[in-house]
């Protein structure tokens, strides 16, 4: 594509952002946002020992500067745009062409799956986590130096202060560098840590079987993945209680098949491998951490959308290769 065409695209994308997300700027505090608004109006500065510090800190700060809901939504949207640009930069660093990088960023920015994360103010935790992880991945995707490692660690800490799920950033960095063995070992370590650290008391109290939970989450992951592509059936609080054993089995098999497929094409289509594995890496902790009140949902899929965007972009680049003109 020519420079003029990129400028046209940029203008259309800007209009699309306004059209797509402009509606939610007028929404109030809904869903659990009411609870956080009440908590942060208490006047107490959120202390470091509280998890998801960045979300609470930013909320506390905003509540004192611009307390109207519209500005909370504006900040969420602006942060999402920043992450989208970083996703495009990351794509460029790991081997996408200019067109592929831009397309990756556009898909990440505009995919309707992102609506929940942007519209739901508490989804800011996911955006902060992604901001840290993607920044760290950018820093170490090409060259490694002591300075870059230090900055990447700071970025990961930033992401972790956004949401603890940013811990998978270590694996994602290994994936974008195509260091498959390091990624696998890191994932194993994180998975083991979660098995021991995760509140196993929850299972005892709630009588939730670990295998049942893992299979349900697998179904949830596949469902959200499919929804991100075909854009049908999106909603909060999906009814996973009614899914059958055969559906759960299919969910687990699908996840395993995706992992196997990704590894099979790592030499011929490495960017697709990276994309698929990024989505899986984000999902795996959710199959281990038992959170009875909340199955895997769309705003928790935010970081995984980086992988989805990469896969979609690479597929489109390959498809259009013969038609370039």
């Amino acid at each position: 594509m020519t420079t003029k065409q990129y400028v046209i695209l940029a203008c259309v994308v800007a209009l699309a952002v306004v059209w797509e997300f402009g509606n939610v700027l007028h929404a109030g505090f809904i869903f659990q946002d009411n609870r956080w608004q009440t908590a942060n109006e208490a006047g107490k500065f959120p202390i470091l020992t509280y998890s998801r510090f960045l979300m609470h800190w930013s909320w506390w700060l905003q509540a004192r500067i611009t307390p109207q809901p519209v500005w909370f939504h504006v900040v969420n949207l602006l942060l999402h745009v920043v992450v989208s640009v970083l996703v495009a930069v990351l794509a460029s660093n790991i081997g996408f062409t200019t067109f592929g990088s831009v397309l990756t960023g556009v898909i990440f920015l505009l995919n309707p799956m992102q609506m929940e994360t942007v519209a739901y103010i508490a989804g800011r935790t996911e955006i902060f986590a992604a901001l840290g992880v993607v920044t760290a991945a950018i820093l170490l995707s090409k060259r490694v130096s002591a300075g870059r490692i230090a900055l990447a660690i700071l970025a990961l800490v930033f992401g972790f202060l956004g949401k603890e799920s940013a811990i998978v950033g270590v694996v994602i960095i290994a994936l974008v560098r195509r260091e498959w063995l390091i990624a696998a070992v890191s994932m194993l370590v994180i998975g083991t840590l979660l098995v021991w650290v995760a509140p196993s008391m929850v299972e005892r109290e709630q009588h939730i079987n670990t295998l049942m939970w893992a299979s349900t989450q697998s179904v949830a992951y596949v469902r959200i993945l499919v929804t991100s592509v075909i854009q049908v059936g999106s909603s909060v609080d999906f009814d996973y209680d009614q899914i059958t054993l055969s559906t759960r089995t299919l969910g687990v098999l699908t996840v395993l098949f995706m992992a196997w497929s990704a590894l099979m094409v790592r030499n011929t289509m490495p960017l697709i491998t990276v994309g698929i594995l990024i989505t899986l890496v984000v999902a795996i902790p959710r199959t281990v951490m038992i959170t009875p009140m909340s199955n895997f949902n769309e705003h928790q899929f935010y970081l995984a959308m980086v992988g989805v965007s990469m896969v979609a972009s690479d597929a489109i680049v390959r498809f259009t290769k013969g038609q370039v003109g």
Binding site: V12, F21, N23, F31, I107, S234, S235, D237, I316
Partner: protein, 81 residues
Amino acid sequence: MTFRLLITLLIVVWYSVVGHVRSGDWLSELNLWTRAASVSPNKPRPHLNRAKALYGLGRFDEGDAEARTAAQLAIGQGQWK
């Protein structure tokens, strides 16, 4: 106009239209839980939250009906006794 630009613009338009429609779900509690109840009609919680939203809007009769639906589903599924 290249084929690639055309494909990209199609994606942009498609996403923005679908996204705009989806954004309606997030405009109010009632919209959110109406949508959730339509996608998951057999789950009690969306109906219960929809009832709360209706009560908040002063639509008590509709809220009562929704709360009854939630209760029946919860009892039927053994979640409430």
